[in-house]
């Protein structure tokens, strides 16, 4: 397993090397990248959002302290490189993480960047300090962060409550930009200011988001592009047709679904398309506090009647992958390998056998052809949510469950989920950083806002903490598999599959590398150039 991963990683990094070699030889400056966007970004403030609608276009406005190497496809603790921090170091018991900061960096408004800005940013995320974020989706990531201090103008230290070697992974993603102290959160939403390669120009709802080259970028000679224009087109059919017709250089972040990919390849054979695992999983949120799913047996039966392969075949022509909470290998670093996955209850490939067992369970509870259990499956009124829900309902029919679909407008979905006003919901979960700390604390930990089902078990909390403190990453991985297995068998948030989708660009767009284990972290765009 280790070796396999290694070969993939090295192959990928070789591609990365070749790309950068090519870039070093012949990169051209100038030109505006024409990309499309799938919908108006909710705001320009990355810390307030949990969607690639914001991260993808706005990541280039900012810098992080450290970041995942943009040229390397597989993100891991080993691919983290300096950004605004020139170097970072742990203290003896690994509870203090000190960053030495770059000097002479200025924000887009001309004000200098100092350690004070680092302190302000993480105070904002911790919810301490005067300025407040309107929404704070990643508070749970920083449960273990005690405080951030500025040792001097160019040195900042993160004080952790306990050891957490993977803490740097959280800081390296696109969701962890450094904000300026002197700009209010409201201004950051409407007109963000950063230190990054691109300056925000304008956002017009349903029309465009525009960025222009930062002439004073601290990395000399970068960015190559004069600017990036994202044209907003809500209809997927229209925007993909427009890409096929050559109106765009670049699609939105993994916007091309598998059936569409075939069409793009047929119509625009020269276009470059890369299919990646999105680290967005399709899962069920099961309300364990209300009938009928307060009954563990019914939960078990429901999970057993799901034919995961059918979901994958229908929705992705067999391309999506089965897995647990963590993104499955080979793309994912932490997911359960196939042979291990088979040992998890409900994951065996004998669907008929599973369903027979599930029917037995239902019969033992008094259900049958003449006495069906009536259930509502709630989901958002968006095709990508609705489609799998329709399949789920079909699969439930097999075990005497008569389910109806309850489509919920986007405007009500999270409110409804928060009220626990559902029986079972079909949900999509995007993971920003492929690291168990991000995933477990965000989605399965007691008290986390994004832990929709309210799953909370002290023994699991202990395991989360145990893996988080481990330094030996290979041993940590073994433990993570065990945790993942338990999560699946508890039906905390039964996984259906992990999605795949493609990113496409015209052949003259160079220097862009898709990352295979997250769609949120490779949008700095400073190395991208146009060969025209």
């Amino acid at each position: 397993m280790q070796r396999k991963l290694f070969t993939i990683a090295s192959a990928v990094s070789m591609v990365g090397l070749m790309l950068s070699a090519e870039a070093a030889m012949a990169q051209k400056n100038g030109g505006v990248l024409k990309a499309y966007h799938r919908g108006t970004p909710p705001s320009g403030s990355i810390h307030e959002e949990a969607t690639n609608s914001t991260v993808a276009p706005y990541m280039g406005v900012f810098n992080n302290l450290i970041m995942y190497d943009q040229a390397k496809a597989v993100e891991s603790l080993d691919t983290i490189v300096p950004d605004l921090a020139t170097k970072w170091s742990w203290n003896g018991d690994k509870t203090k993480l000190t960053f030495n900061l770059r000097k002479g960096v200025t924000f887009h408004d001309g004000k200098p960047f100092t350690a004070k800005d680092v302190v302000c940013t993480w105070n904002l995320v911790k919810g301490v300090g005067k300025a407040k974020l309107r929404k704070n989706p990643r508070k749970s990531w920083y449960k273990n962060l005690d405080k951030v201090t500025a040792d001097n103008d160019y040195q900042a230290t993160f004080h952790l409550k306990r050891k957490q070697p993977a803490f740097v992974a959280l800081l390296a993603g696109g969701y962890s930009p450094v904000y300026p102290c002197h700009v209010s959160p409201k201004k950051m939403r409407t007109h963000p200011i950063g230190t990054g390669p691109f300056k925000f120009v304008s956002l017009k709802q349903n029309e465009h988001v525009k960025f222009v080259k930062n002439q004073n970028y601290w990395k000399k000679g970068l960015p190559h592009l004069d600017g990036i224009n994202w044209t907003i087109i809500k209809s997927r059919s229209t925007r993909v047709l427009a890409f096929v017709a050559g109106k765009f250089d670049f699609t939105f972040n993994v916007d091309v679904t598998i059936p569409l990919l075939k069409d793009v390849k047929a119509q625009a054979p020269h276009a470059i398309c890369e299919l990646v695992t999105t680290n967005v999983s399709f899962n069920l949120i099961v309300n364990q506090f209300k009938p009928p799913f307060d009954n563990a047996k019914i939960r078990k039966a429901m999970v057993m009647t799901m034919d995961r392969k059918a979901f994958i075949d229908i929705l992705s022509e067999g391309q999506n992958v089965q897995g647990g909470a963590m993104m499955p290998p080979p793309s994912g670093v932490w997911g359960m390998p196939p042979e291990f996955l088979k040992t998890v209850a409900g994951y065996s490939s004998d669907v008929a056998g599973n369903r027979a067992k599930a029917r037995k369970i239902m019969e033992s509870l008094g259900y049958g052809p003449d006495n069906k259990l009536k259930v509502k499956v709630s989901t958002r009124n968006i095709a990508v949510y609705r489609d799998p829900a329709v399949i789920l309902i079909d699969h439930m029919k097999e075990i005497y469950i008569d389910a109806t679909l309850d489509t919920v407008e986007t405007s009500n979905w999270h409110a409804k989920v928060a009220r626990k006003d559902y029986m079972v919901g079909l949900n999509l979960t995007g993971i920003g950083v492929d690291d168990p700390d991000a995933n477990f604390y965000e989605n399965y930990s007691c008290g986390s806002q994004r832990n929709y089902t309210g799953y909370c078990k002290p023994e699991m909390e202990a395991l989360f903490e145990k893996q988080s403190m481990m330094e030996d990453q290979a041993a940590r991985k073994k433990l993570v598999w065990e945790i993942d297995k338990k999560l699946q068998e508890d039906a905390a948030r039964p996984m259906i599959m992990h999605g795949k989708a493609a990113q496409c660009w015209q052949p003259y767009v160079k220097g862009f590398v898709t990352h295979v284990n997250s769609i949120y972290n490779n949008w700095r765009m400073e190395d991208v150039w146009l060969d025209k």
Binding site: P259, I314, N381, A389, L405, T407
Partner: protein
Amino acid sequence: MADIDHQAELVKAGAHVSSRWDKTLFYARRYPLGAIGAVIMVIFIFSAIFADVLAPHDPLQTRARASLSAPNAEFVMGADMMGRDMYSRIIHGARISLTVGVASIMLGGFIGVFIGLMSGYLMGWFDLLMQRLIDIMQALPLLVLALVMAASLGPSLENTIIAISIPLVPNVARVVRSSTLSLREMPFVEAARAAGMSEMRVALRHVLPNILAPLIVLFTAQLGAAILVEASLSFLGLGVPEPHPSWGRMLSESAAEYVRVAPWLVIFPGLAISMAVFGANLFGDALRDILDPRQRS
């Protein structure tokens, strides 16, 4: 009355007026377009009523192997992304369209007739108030009003019906009111009133039957409009929700995505909507010509 007019024509044309069938044939020959419309409407209503028998498959059943399959012997109109049989879905869709169309017209018609009859008959403050209300409703385009209504009621079959019915009210109320206004001065209505009939009974017994003809014309014309608005709302994601096989929903984003890979997903529901509305319009036109002599050529 319109009917008498036609009796005369029937005689003139030398037709045998004795049988119903002959009468139908006469109308069909006189209004060939209307006849085509009637045939389409009959097919439409027939599939709506007997959808369970006519559809070869369960419209909701998903099949992995049939995902996006092209029209073939098993799925004559192909299958959608989830492998659901398009033909069965379209037949069942007729039921949704007809339900929404008829129910919204009945609801809107009932409210409209009530308002129109009352304000035309009672006049005074009630009339004034209702006229203002109708002005308000008419100052907004049908789709805009339906859109706001649909959004504020939330997506469901019942709410779609309500959202579509409300914008229909002013049209009905207007027609009924003006007919009532002219009828109430008629001698036979005056006579009924003089004979001591209560106002309510006069309205129901004498006025209502006499405005039936223009109402039927209006209702048929509205049927097409209602089906279209339902399709538009569903297309915009505010109409009848999944898994109901609504034609408009079938054409919305999820299907449009595959327009090039699987054009049958877009062509057949679009045809179904067009045909149903076309039939209703043709039939409505002929009906107007028959029942409303002023418009006759």
